[in-house]
Symmetry: C2
Amino acid sequence: MPRRRITQTDVAAMAGVSQATVSFVLNGNTPAGVRIGEETRQRVLDAIRITGYTANPVAQRLAGGLTQILGVFTYEATFPRASRDFYGPFLVGIEHAAERLGVDLLLFTSAPAVGGRRQLTRDGWQRLGVADGCLLLGQHEDRGELQHLLDTNYPFVFIGKRGSDGGRLPYVGADYVGATVRQVDRLVGLGHERIGYVGVRGTDQPTLDRVEGYRKALKARGLATVFVESDDVAAAADEIGARSLTAVVVAPENHPEELADELERRGSRVPDAVSVLLLGQPHHPRRGGRRWSGFSVPREEMGVRALHLLSRLAAGDGNGRDRDGRRGAAVPDAELHQLLPCPDVDGATAAAAP
Amino acid sequence: MPRRRITQTDVAAMAGVSQATVSFVLNGNTPAGVRIGEETRQRVLDAIRITGYTANPVAQRLAGGLTQILGVFTYEATFPRASRDFYGPFLVGIEHAAERLGVDLLLFTSAPAVGGRRQLTRDGWQRLGVADGCLLLGQHEDRGELQHLLDTNYPFVFIGKRGSDGGRLPYVGADYVGATVRQVDRLVGLGHERIGYVGVRGTDQPTLDRVEGYRKALKARGLATVFVESDDVAAAADEIGARSLTAVVVAPENHPEELADELERRGSRVPDAVSVLLLGQPHHPRRGGRRWSGFSVPREEMGVRALHLLSRLAAGDGNGRDRDGRRGAAVPDAELHQLLPCPDVDGATAAAAP
DNA sequence: ACCCGCTAATAATGCGCATTATCGAATTGA
DNA sequence: TCAATTCGATAATGCGCATTATTAGCGGGT
C-alpha cells in the first residue's frame, strides 16, 4: 500500500505556516518583497528534518521548466562489445560532462531497432520530449528526420561533422582534413615523394575529409596523388609495391595491421621500406600490435564538448530558467560547429624515405 | 527565442475541442461513460500530427502516469575503461531488455562523484523521481539510503544479491554458493583431497557466498578447509606449496593469472601439479591468457532479469496504469529475490590430482 | 409534453511545487 | 494623527496532464 509521500503542504501544516513559506525556506530565495522571519524559518527547517521531507522532482520540473536531463541517441545498440569499443570513448566524455553539468543522461533505448539500426520513428520522437535536448551519435542520413529536428526547434547536437546540411546542424566533429594534411606533411618532411592513400572510397564524412586532406596536402607540395583502392589487403600491398610507393596513409577501417603484415611478407619492412601513417585510432587494438604513427581522434573530448554545447542550446529552451534563475543566452553561431584538432601520434611506423 | 512546447491545449484549440478530449484520444481510454466520436477523433489526431505534439512526460508523471523511463544508478562512473569491463555485460542485458520493454534508460550521472564513488545525496534522490523505478548496481552499504528507499516505497531492484537486509530488498543475483559448491565437487571428482581457497576475506556478498560454498562443499565431503589469505600473490603461491595443496579455488579479484604464473615459477605446473578453478570471469581478460576452468556469472542475463523485475514493480506504482490501461498486478514475493545459476566453464586449468 | 436513455463532449479538479500578487500589522515620518 | 513605509507571511495561480463530474443535444416511448 503506497504510503503517500510527504509534501510541502504536510510540512507546512506541521510548522504552522503556508505551503508557500515552506517553498521559500527551501529555496533560500525570497523573491522581490517576500521575507521570512528567522524564527519561522527554523520552525520550518525543523519540520522538514522531522518529517524527512524531500521535494518531488517531477513537480519541481513541471513548475520550473527544464528537466535537467539530456538525451543520447545512438543509431546502434550502445553497449554490445563491438559498439562499446566505438561509443565507449564518447560516452566517457559525455558522462564526465554530464556529471559536471549536474545533468542526467537519458538513453533512448525504446526506439525500435530494425535490423540492428535504431529508428527515430514518430514514436521515438515522442520520447525525446523528456530531455531538454539530445545528442546524436552515428551516421544517419534520413533527411526527413533531420528536417523534423530543425522544424521542431528541438535542441540537439551531432557528434561527428555534418557536411551536407552543414550550416544548419549543430555538431562537434574532428578535424580530419587538417590532421591528414599534417600526416602527409610529416612524410614529406621525412623525404617521401611517392605517398599513397590506401582505402575504399566511402561517402561517409570522415573518409571524404581524409581524402580531401590528402589531396590538398599533396597538391600544395606539388606531388602526385596515388589512390590504392583495392579492398583486398593483399592486392593493396601488391599495388603499393608496383607503384613503388615509399609511404602510405591509411584509415583505421581499412585493416592497417593486416596491410602491414602483407607488406612485410613481400619483403617491404615497415617503416624501413614503407612508412604507414594511420589516420585515426586502430579500431581493434591488438595486444602486441604495432605502435602506429599518425593521429588520434579526440573522442572523449568530443563527447565533453558536445554535451556542453547541447547544454547551452537547451538552456535557452522551454520556460527554462537555469538554476540561478537566469535564462540561457543565445548561443553564437560560431560555436554551433566545432572541429577539434586531432593530435599527432608518434609511433613506430614512420621513417625517413629509403 | 525559447520555443514553447506544444501542449494538449494547443492541440485542442487547433482541433476545436477541449483539452480533455485530446487527452482521451491520446490514451485511447474512454473511462466510464466518456465517448469520442470517430470524426472528432480524427480531427484531434490530425492536429497532433500537424503540430508534432509530444506529451510532456513530467506532467504525465505528476498527474499520476508512468514515464516509461527506468533509471540506472551505478556507484562508480559507468563508462571509463575499468568500469566498462565490469558494467558492460550488465548494461548489454539491461539495454536489450529496455528495448524489448519499450522503455528508455535514465543514467543518473548527475549524482556527484566523491572520490570516484557516486553519492545518492538528497539532491540525487530528487532526480530519481523522473523514472518509474531504478536499478542499482554496485556495492553500497549506506543504511540510511536503503531505509529511505524502502520508506518512500519507490520501486527499485538491486543487481547483485543483498544479504543483510535481504528480505526487504528486491534483487537479482548470481548463485555463487551453489556454483562454488559445484567447483569443489568437480575437484573432488578429479581425485583432489587437499583443496584450498585463495583470497582475501572480504565482507562483500560475493566473497561471503563463495566462502560459504567452499565450506559447505568440503564439509559435505568430510575434507578440511584451507584458507590461503595472503594478499600477496607470491606468498600465496608459497603457502600453496607449503601446505601441499593439489587444487585451489580463487576469485577473479585475487589475481589468478599472476598466481598461476607464480606457481609455475616454483615448478608447480597448472593444472598438472595444481588445479586452479576460477570463481567467476577473469576481471581483466588478457589476450593470450589462460583458459580458465570454473564458472561464469551470467551478468547479461542478470541485467535482463533485473530490468524485467523492475518493470513489473514499477507498473504497480503511482496511479500507474500501463499502456493498456491495466494496473500492474502485485509482484509475488517469490520473484523479488532471484538467484541465477552460474554455468560451469571448462577451461584448461583443472586436471586430475597428481 | 415530460421523462428516460443514450451519445458526445466539456468543465472542473488535483498532482506538488514555484512564483506573483496581495494583505495585515507594526513601525516610521512629519 | 494619518499616510507612508517596512516587515512577515499568505492566497492564488499556473505548469501540463489524467480523470471525474457534469452538461448539452437528441430521438423515442408513454
